[in-house]
Amino acid sequence: MSRRREDIVIIGGGPAGLAAALAAREAGIRKVLILERDKELGGILNQCIHNGFGLHTFKEELTGPEYAEKYIQMVLEQQIPYMTNAMVTGIEVLENNDKCVTAMNKEDRLVEITAKAVILAMGCRERPRGALNIPGTRPAGIYSAGTAQYYVNMEGRMPGKEVVILGSGDIGLIMARRMVLEGAKVHCVAELRPYSGGLKRNIVQCLEDFDIPLYLSTTVSEIHGKERVEAVTLTRVDEHGVPISGSEWRVPCDTLLLSCGLIPENELTIGLGAQMDAKTGGPVVSEHLECSVPGVFACGNVLHVHELVDHVSAEAEKAGRFASEYVLASESKTCKSEVADASERREEGWE
C-alpha cells in the first residue's frame, strides 16, 4: 500500500477533471492529483471522433479527441500529476475533515491518498436495457450506443450489420451515421417521445442526410432471437408512452443500440453519504459546487448531464477555484494549530 498526501484530489480525468485541475493550479494550489480509471486522460471525449466540440471555449469546431488533447496538453505543461488505470474505490472523511481516497492500479497497487478537498468528476453512464425493461429474449447484439461507439471508434470493430437504434439522443444519432459510414445498414431510429432529444443539426446530418427514418412515439416492445438478435418488434405508443396494441411491426436486424439517456455516475458520492438530488441524479451542491459533505466539490456530468462539453469545462473551472478557496481557507486555519496537527498525523502513520 502506498500513501500520498495532496491538497486536492480530482476523481476522473475527463474534460471536467482536467479543467478543474488546471483551475486549481492557477489558483495557486501546488499539490493537485488527477485519478483516472481509463488507460488515458480525456474521458468520454476520446471516443467521440465526430466534430462539434469547443465552439464556445476555443471558437473553433473540434473533434472530441482534439478538444481533450488541448486540455491534456495544458495539464502536461503545468506538470499536474495524474494516475491512469487507477480506479477510485472509496472516499472517506477523516476526523480532521481531510478526505481519504482509496484507488487501485496495477503499478501502484493499493493507494491511499489524503487530501484537503476532493473534486468529483466521474462523468455518467448510459441507461442499460434492464432499466428500460424491454421484454423478449436476451441474445448477443444489444449494446448501449456508447459501447458500440467504443468498439467502432476505439477498437475498429463492428458490433453488428443490421441495426435498429432505440432512443434519439445525440449519441444514438451520431452512432446511426457512424454505423452507416462503416458499412452497416441502419433500419431506423425509434424514439418513445413525440420529439427527439437530440440536436437539430444531428437529426439533419446524421439521419436525414442518410435517409434513416426516425419514428417518433415508437418503442421496441420485444426483442427476438436466441443467440444473436434476429429482429425487434416496434410499437407505436400513445401520449402516455403506453404501447398501442395492433400497431406493432417487426424489423429484422442483428443489432439493437440503446441511446436512452445518461445517468450520473455517483456510487462514490453516495458511498460518501452526500445528499443526492433525485431529479438530476447528481449530488445536491451549493452555489460553490460543494456537496453536503464539506470539502467535496462536483462538476461535469457527474453533477448533471450536460449537452455541451464547453459548459462542462466552464463549470469545472469554477469547481477548481472553489475547491482551491476551501483549501487555502483551511490552511490558514491549520497554521495556528500546526504543531499539534503534525504530531497527530505522525501517530496515524500518514506520510
Partner: protein, 519 residues
C-alpha cells in the same frame, strides 16, 4: 467409442451434484452437456432460495430431498466455497381467514422435519421486516430458509467433480441412445451407446439429468413415455440500492389470486422479485413478456409496497421442468432406475425445490448406483474446493495480500461489481473455465451489476481473446445448445481497421485515424 462406467446427461446443478457424488468411488464418469458451458439451463435462472421444506407433501421425494438438501447446504458451502446465507423465510398471509392454511403449512413442514417453524403476528413480522405491507394478517417464519448463489453452487460442484477425475464434454448434445443388446437369458451385452455431437460413448449406467429435456432423453430408452412441460417463471432483478428492503425471503401464501410472488435479497445484495408461472410449449423459450414483468412488479408490491420498478437492472426467465402425471395430487421428483431400462436412471421433473435438493439428490442417486453397480471408494477423493477470490468481498487486508501476490487484482474491469482482471483470468483458467462473456459473468459477476456490462464487456472480450489466444471476433456472449458460434459480440471490422499482426486480439486503429474527421 469412448468407454465409461457412468454417463451423466446434463450439467445443471443436478447433473453436477450427481457427478461429484459418484466421483467418490473408483469409476470413469462422463458428463455430456449440450451447451458450451455448465449451468446454462434452469440452474442459471431461478430464485436461488434454499427452501426450508414446508411446501411439499409429507412422504414425497420433494419433501425428503428438500429437507435433507437444506441441511447439507451449509457444510457444502464451506467445503466448496460458494455464497450461502441462512436468512430465514416468511410466508405472509393477507386475510385472517387464511390462518388455517398457514397452520396447515406449519404442520406439513413439521411432518417433513423442518425445525423451528413459528407463526408470527403482523407486529412480530414488522419488527423483523419493517418494509413489509401493513395489510398482512400474519406469517409463518422458517429460520432454516436460506439463499444461495445458484451459479456458485453449480460451478463449485462441477469444478470439484473435475478435480476428482470426471470428464465433462461440453457442446455435446445427446441425440441418440441405444440400449444394450440382450443376449441369452436377457443378459445385457455391453452398455448404453450414447451419441453426442457425432461421438459415441458407451457405459452400463446412464443418468438422465437433462432438466426440461429429461423426457426426450427418457423416451429414447423406455416404452413408458413421460412428458415434461416447461413452466416459465419471469423475474426482475433490482439494484443493490434496493437490496436491503427485506432481509428474509418473503413468500406470499398461495391464494385465489395465484401462487404468489416472492421478494428476496440475493446472496450478492440485490433484490429479486418473481417468478410468474406459465406453461409454455417451447423448451427453449426463456423470453420475458411485458405482461410477466408487469405482474411481477404488481404482485411483489403487495408484499413490499415501496418496491421501485425503476430500480430494475435486468429481467429474465427460467423454465421449471414440470412432470405431467395422471394423478391430481401434483407431480413429484422422478428419481429411479427406469423399470424397462436397467442401468438407466431418471432424475426428472426436478422443478422447485430442485436447487435446494441438489446436494441430497446427488447423494441419493449415488446410493442407488452404488447399490446396483458397486465400486471401491477412492482413497484420494478431494472434498474441498476454493472459489475465485473476490475483491469486492475482500477486506482491505485481504485486498492488499491478493494484490501483492498478483497486481492484476488491482486492475478493475467491472466497475459496478468491482471485479478485477485477476479474477477474470482465473475464471478462464480454472477447470471448466469460462470461454464466453456469460461464463465470465457467472464465475466472477463481471457484467452483473447495474450497468449490465455496458462498461466492462469490451474489456472482458479482450481478456478472453488474450487468454484463450483467439481473435476477439470469435468471442461470444453465451453458448446455447447449438454450440457458441452464433452469439458473437463483434461482426467484423470498420473500414479504417488494420490488424497489428503480431499483437493478437489487440488490434489498433491507424494512428492517423483520430486526427482526421473522415465523416
Amino acid at each position: 467409442m469412448k468407454q465409461y462406467d457412468v454417463i451423466v446427461i446434463g450439467a445443471g446443478v443436478i447433473g453436477c451434484a450427481i457427478a461429484r457424488e459418484l466421483s467418490r468411488r473408483e469409476r470413469r464418469i462422463a458428463v455430456l452437456e449440450r451447451a458450451s458451458d455448465i449451468c446454462e439451463g434452469t440452474s442459471k435462472a431461478n430464485s436461488g432460495i434454499v427452501h426450508a421444506g414446508h411446501d411439499a407433501m409429507p412422504g414425497t421425494m420433494k419433501a425428503r430431498m428438500n429437507v435433507l438438501g437444506n441441511a447439507r447446504m451449509e457444510t457444502l458451502s464451506k467445503e466448496l466455497d460458494f455464497p450461502f446465507r441462512r436468512n430465514g423465510s416468511l410466508v405472509i398471509m393477507f386475510e385472517q381467514e387464511d390462518i388455517l392454511k398457514l397452520e396447515e403449512l406449519k404442520a406439513r413442514g413439521e411432518a417433513n422435519g423442518v425445525q423451528g417453524l413459528e407463526l408470527l403476528t403482523p407486529r412480530q413480522v414488522w419488527e423483523r421486516e419493517p418494509n413489509i405491507s401493513r395489510e398482512i394478517a400474519g406469517a409463518l417464519y422458517a429460520p432454516t430458509g436460506g439463499i444461495v448463489c445458484t451459479f456458485g453452487l453449480t460451478i463449485a460442484l462441477a469444478e470439484n467433480a473435475v478435480v476428482n477425475g470426471v470428464d465433462f464434454f461440453l457442446n455435446h448434445e445427446v441425440t441418440e441412445i441405444i440400449p444394450p443388446a440382450k443376449g441369452a437369458g436377457s443378459i445385457a451385452i455391453g452398455g448404453y451407446r450414447v451419441t453426442a455431437a457425432g461421438t459415441q460413448f458407451e457405459a452400463p449406467v446412464v443418468i438422465n439429468a437433462a432438466g426440461v429435456c429429461a423426457d426426450l432423453i427418457h423416451n429414447m430408452v423406455s416404452e413408458r413415455k413421460i412428458k415434461i412441460v416447461p413452466r416459465r417463471g419471469e423475474y426482475r432483478l433490482m439494484d443493490k440500492n434496493s437490496g436491503s428492503m427485506v432481509d428474509s425471503t418473503i413468500f406470499q401464501l398461495p391464494s385465489r389470486l395465484g401462487k404468489g410472488i416472492l421478494v428476496t435479497p440475493t446472496v450478492h445484495g440485490n433484490l429479486l422479485v418473481g417468478p410468474t408461472a406459465e406453461d409454455i410449449p417451447d423448451k427453449e423459450d426463456v423470453a420475458t413478456t411485458a405482461e410477466g414483468v408487469r405482474k411481477v412488479m404488481e404482485m411483489g408490491a403487495k408484499s413490499v409496497p415501496n418496491l421501485d420498478g425503476r430500480q430494475t437492472i435486468t429481467s429474465f426467465a427460467g423454465l421449471r421442468a414440470h412432470l405431467v402425471t395422471e394423478e391430481s395430487k401434483g407431480s413429484d421428483f422422478l428419481i429411479e432406475e427406469v423399470a424397462d431400462a436397467k442401468g438407466f436412471f431418471d432424475v426428472a421433473g426436478i422443478e422447485s425445490p430442485g436447487l435446494t435438493a441438489a446436494p441430497a439428490i446427488g447423494e441419493y442417486v449415488a446410493e442407488l448406483v452404488n447399490r446396483a453397480y458397486p465400486a471401491p471408494e477412492k482413497a484420494d477423493f478431494v472434498s474441498v474446493r476454493k472459489g475465485i477470490p473476490s475483491m469486492a468481498n475482500a477486506t482491505d487486508e485481504q485486498r492488499r495480500i491478493l494484490i501483492s501476490k498478483n497486481p492484476s487484482y488491482a486492475n478493475v474491469i467491472c466497475r459496478c461489481e468491482l471485479v478485477t482482471e485477476g479474477e477474470i483470468v482465473e475464471a478462464i483458467h480454472r477447470p471448466l473455465g469460462a470461454t464466453t462473456l456469460d461464463g465470465v459473468k457467472r464465475r466472477t459477476r463481471a457484467g452483473m451489476g447495474r450497468c449490465q456490462s455496458g462498461f466492462c464487456s469490451p474489456k472482458v472480450v479482450d481478456i478472453l481473446a488474450r487468454e484463450l489466444d483467439v481473435d476477439k471476433s470469435v468471442i461470444t456472449k453465451n453458448g446455447t445448445y447449438k454450440g457458441n458460434q452464433n452469439s458473437n459480440i463483434l461482426t467484423g471490422y470498420t473500414k479504417g481497421w488494420q490488424p497489428k499482426g503480431e499483437d493478437n486480439g489487440k488490434d489498433v486503429l491507424k494512428s492517423s485515424e483520430k486526427e482526421v474527421d473522415y465523416e
